[in-house]
Amino acid sequence: MDKNRRNINYNLYVESKVPKTRAWPSLIKAFILGGTICAIGQGFFDMYTYFFPNLSESEVTTCMLMTIIFITCLLTGIGVYDVIGAWGGAGSVIPITGFSNSISSPAIEFKKEGIIYGICVKMFTIAGPVIVCGVVGSIICGFIGYFL
């Protein structure tokens, strides 16, 4: 009984000491950053549709995603994306920029461990699960599409 009360007191103490994540500001920041990245994507989409009218919609989408991915890798390289990510939280993770940053950020960080064991191996510490789940999932979807 005494032990129980001590645990409750301890939990209350921990709760009072843990820094509170203020929910609303971070939600609004994530909304603004994510929305802005998607709007920039739409800008590239319209630009490529205008300059390359021969491409199909899915090809234009791929070009637009590749442009955003390239820009994100560059921003990660010069250290700007870390600042954006710290401000926007999930708003910087969910767009394709988050996938791109998850590859380039460890690649740059572990450069000092060498090209093979640093850059090439550590590149996939976060993106590895995404690519594995993506490939496995797409094959399952392929089977569903084949038999239905």
Partner: protein, 125 residues
């Protein structure tokens, strides 16, 4: 062709998806890799049930820029290739459809990792 509505809806839908993700982050302290995989799978499920195409028609880049679009692209590629090429398409379709994004992410990361060195020691992510 350039309508301001496309930008407004991209902003609102893309923002809303990130808003939902941020709620998850606050509630469950979910890590970056898990949240990416979760939304990737959501995208695949949307594509399998044919919800993604009308959603993209409505939300434009708000649907294709988030990682949901990447998952839907993988699933759509595999399903289309399976219908056209048969069994071999099941295995080739997904990566073929998303090859551009993955190749650019790996290539650009490798080049920029050679050029730049990390300046700040970061926590999190």
């Amino acid at each position: 062709m350039f309508s301001i509505w496309d930008y407004v809806i991209s902003f609102l839908v893309g923002g809303f998806i990130c808003f939902l993700a941020q709620i998850l982050v606050i509630r469950t302290k979910i890590t970056t890799a898990r949240i990416l995989v979760l939304f990737l799978i959501i995208g695949m499920i949307l594509e399998v049930f044919n919800i993604y195409a009308p959603f993209k028609e409505f939300a434009k880049a708000g649907a294709s820029v988030p990682i949901i679009g990447f998952g839907a692209n993988l699933a759509r590629g595999a399903i289309m290739a399976a219908k056209e090429d048969g069994i071999i398409g099941i295995f080739t379709g997904g990566l073929t459809a998303s090859a551009g994004g993955i190749a650019m992410a790996i290539f650009a990361s490798f080049i920029f990792a050679l050029i730049f060195s990390s300046k700040t020691k970061r926590g999190g992510h």
